[in-house]
Amino acid sequence: MQILNVFLVIFLIVAAIMVERTKDLLSAVIIFTSYSLMMALLWLLLRAPDVAMTEAAIGAGITTNLFVVVISRTRRTEK
């Protein structure tokens, strides 16, 4: 239980650093989506199912959609 928690937090940190490093914006957004999903999982672990559900639907679903739409209308790679 606590091991899983530690593992998830480490995953989150790694994902956040990868988002920061990735030059390709689309990949960065996809990594951010997986970050959000892992965050939802962690919140489920912390006994907050409502929040986990909302984060999975809004944070991972809708936010990603909006990002992808905007990236498709602008430029895909970071300089």
Partner: protein, 140 residues
């Protein structure tokens, strides 16, 4: 995206997503979920439809003139519900004391104003998220 396979799959799973979204909204006070998660799940179905069939048919599903009415209506409804409490001599947004029917614990139709407000807000969230998506998709 003119992929037949994507379209067929979308058509097949669309009703399930919508029913799930409605379930989450309606059972908001009994199980995890509520207006915001349910509304965005429901919105996801229309977003998916737009992605599979294109912007124009997607906008037909929820045209702007309807969505703007839903958004206005959601908040006005919330305000009116709150003012009932004031009218009956209590404060804004009073639930039990203002005499909303509380029902039996654990039933869908219980808890006074909670399911009513949740339903209105769920619709509002759905329409807002879809409108956000459609507005972003539009080309000038």
């Amino acid at each position: 995206m003119d992929d037949l396979f994507v379209r067929i799959t979308t058509r097949m799973i669309l009703p399930f997503i919508q029913i799930y979204g409605l379930y989450v909204i309606i059972h908001g006070h009994l199980s995890p979920g509520g207006a915001f998660s349910g509304g965005s799940i429901f919105a996801a179905s229309i977003v998916l439809y737009t992605l599979a069939y294109g912007l124009k048919p997607g906008q037909k599903r929820l045209p702007h003139h309807i969505s703007s009415k839903i958004e206005t209506g959601g908040i006005l409804f919330f305000i009116l519900i709150g003012l009932i409490g004031v009218a009956l001599g209590y404060t804004f947004l009073t639930n039990q004391e203002a005499g909303f029917p509380m029902g039996e614990i654990g039933r869908v139709l219980s808890a006074g104003l909670i399911p009513v407000v949740t339903f209105a807000l769920g619709l509002k969230v759905m329409s807002t998220v879809v409108t956000l998506f459609h507005t972003m998709m539009e080309e000038e």
